[in-house]
Subunit: 222 residues, 4 copies
Amino acid sequence: MTSKHKSGMRLPTELRPSNRRIEAFSDAVFAIVVTIMVLEIRIPDDLAFGDNSAALMTFGALLATYALSFVVVAIFWGNHHYLIFTLPKADRATLWLNNNALLWITLIPIVARFLGAHPTSPRAAAAYAFVVMCCTLSFSLLRRHAARISENEFHRALHHRVLRRIWPAVAVYAAAIPLAFIEVRLAWLCLLILPAMFFLPIVRAEGKEIESMYEKKGNADG
Amino acid sequence: MTSKHKSGMRLPTELRPSNRRIEAFSDAVFAIVVTIMVLEIRIPDDLAFGDNSAALMTFGALLATYALSFVVVAIFWGNHHYLIFTLPKADRATLWLNNNALLWITLIPIVARFLGAHPTSPRAAAAYAFVVMCCTLSFSLLRRHAARISENEFHRALHHRVLRRIWPAVAVYAAAIPLAFIEVRLAWLCLLILPAMFFLPIVRAEGKEIESMYEKKGNADG
Amino acid sequence: MTSKHKSGMRLPTELRPSNRRIEAFSDAVFAIVVTIMVLEIRIPDDLAFGDNSAALMTFGALLATYALSFVVVAIFWGNHHYLIFTLPKADRATLWLNNNALLWITLIPIVARFLGAHPTSPRAAAAYAFVVMCCTLSFSLLRRHAARISENEFHRALHHRVLRRIWPAVAVYAAAIPLAFIEVRLAWLCLLILPAMFFLPIVRAEGKEIESMYEKKGNADG
Amino acid sequence: MTSKHKSGMRLPTELRPSNRRIEAFSDAVFAIVVTIMVLEIRIPDDLAFGDNSAALMTFGALLATYALSFVVVAIFWGNHHYLIFTLPKADRATLWLNNNALLWITLIPIVARFLGAHPTSPRAAAAYAFVVMCCTLSFSLLRRHAARISENEFHRALHHRVLRRIWPAVAVYAAAIPLAFIEVRLAWLCLLILPAMFFLPIVRAEGKEIESMYEKKGNADG
């Protein structure tokens, strides 16, 4: 850790080679996770010429779960984007906290497929909520590490501000797990509410503010 | 938005980190969308030693639909290429308009597989036309945003010029949807005409002109 | 084309944004083509505890075809590497000649799977030879275009030198197509000889020479 | 090889175009290898509403094998990261030693799927150990080449230090192959011990030390 002061300051953050490769690897994983979910979604052959409302419902559920998962993965990608950007260095702990986050992200297609095929199953909804909750927690671990190793006071403050906003999200996903076994529709509500809230004007405004702060400081560092 | 003037001018467009990651993520999604369609195309085992004209026809239809979809995705990728290049900054709206465009692009393999398996189905042709129309519209939303946030008068003029050319394309795909239920061959014609026109000398000449304008100004900015 | 002189000289080749995105998109396509072939290769479940020599043979044929196709795609990737590096600009013709080459590359998994499943089928060997021949031809079209638009006399000479070496390769793959229907083993020989020759000392020495020439001039340009 | 002195010194290592493309291609292959393993893991439909302990066990074995393989591939990716970073040039030998390493990496999903489906099969455990052993050996060949062509004495010393640590790892995987046929649980132990050891404090400390040395010298070179 003693070399941090010297090497961390020399190159602008966004050009440091190790960060660049973490970005490249992570971007590819995010892109593939988003896209392989599509491999599972087939328009039922019955619908080509005939009518089959059961097949249509099945297809609709798969498509809706895909759209939800696309938005969830895209939100995580956006967070990752700003998080890696502020990392002062790509040490071994960063690498493995990032790998841990990616491992949970790659489980999303598995639970998305299960939930898409069984949208009324309490277990499917609970499994989906559990995996997204673990994604959120693993991103928080990465962010906490970033806050700890950063020497930029401004970045640290931003990380702590975002970290405080994480707990309500974790609580909603945690609540979805037992709720799924009481009433699966309540679990679905929990799964939908956070991606939907992300687009609310008030949340967007705060996000915009944080992002513009990141950008300003990030450029000032370089 | 107040930080746009300062931060947007400092680095040449193509080196700004956030644009770079949007590019990387989008390129990966485009590449995977193009390639996973191949997973669905199998040469029928019957054709290894015996003759089976039905199997050959099925395979031919899948292959033709793949080639068409490859060209469609590649045209969108080319447009994306020039569009991102002129984006002054990668704000949250840009991110999500881009995610929206990518979401529609990832639906192309689903409808391509359905149309390839059922080339005479009116619904399959209509579904394909609908998804490509939505891709076109979602790219236009991204471009309109780029035109709005750009401070470069030249880029704005180019965006508006391209935006005007979008409506005939949207109209052709929109027309294909009802036409499919009257005569599926007319819908196919609509699906084929635009990718084919893209290679006509007159369209190519205009495209070349626009691209060389982009390049010239893009470099001048940097 | 009039802007070529000015813009082509300003930035070192390897930093020009449009070339960079062609590289990124192509690299992703090459990487996915190589990797999705693996999705088709399953170790037969029968082999977990019992013996089944038929299943073992089938698996062996799939694995051998995969290894061959990996080497073929990797050779094309290596050529693409040096080709894009010398492109003075990424104009629309370059983009579409590149897309054409990628389209043929994405067909390799389809014929590899067919040949792996039916290694004694004349049609499978002929289809494989046909697709690899078309890949070679489409790369030559791209290279001829590069030779034409390049202003660097040295690059032009190198391109012409490589182009002359293409014809024997095309001839071998073309010969494999009729040979497959006479004796499938001769077609296999044609398919194996070129990737094998690539590693012969004499061919490697010439390749090394050409590459070091590219590198030297490429750096001198930048 | 005569041009090495001149061209290898001119640009900082991490900006040399040919290294960059090897990185990009390799990162994409690593990312796809990690992610396509997920395509094989399905939560059994029986578990949506009913209980089926056999299906649950099967799913658990697949998931555990996936997690193990994710860690194995991520360790190789991390090593690759530091290895490519120190390569003085991307010559043809580097390219093909890298391709060889990637070929073995792409076989991991095949044996992971087989081991996940048959966790008690001696052959499956032996096949898995064999492939990971070959990955380790192929990375050592690449590293030995890097040590040979490097002009940086410091990098050479580091490479030799890491190369000495490779043999115990190869020995453990080699031992797992015969052990699998005596007692499959011992083979599993061999497969688990190395990824687990990677996270032991003492190993982590040494790894950290080596990495910080790489970083320091790498930056000093640029």
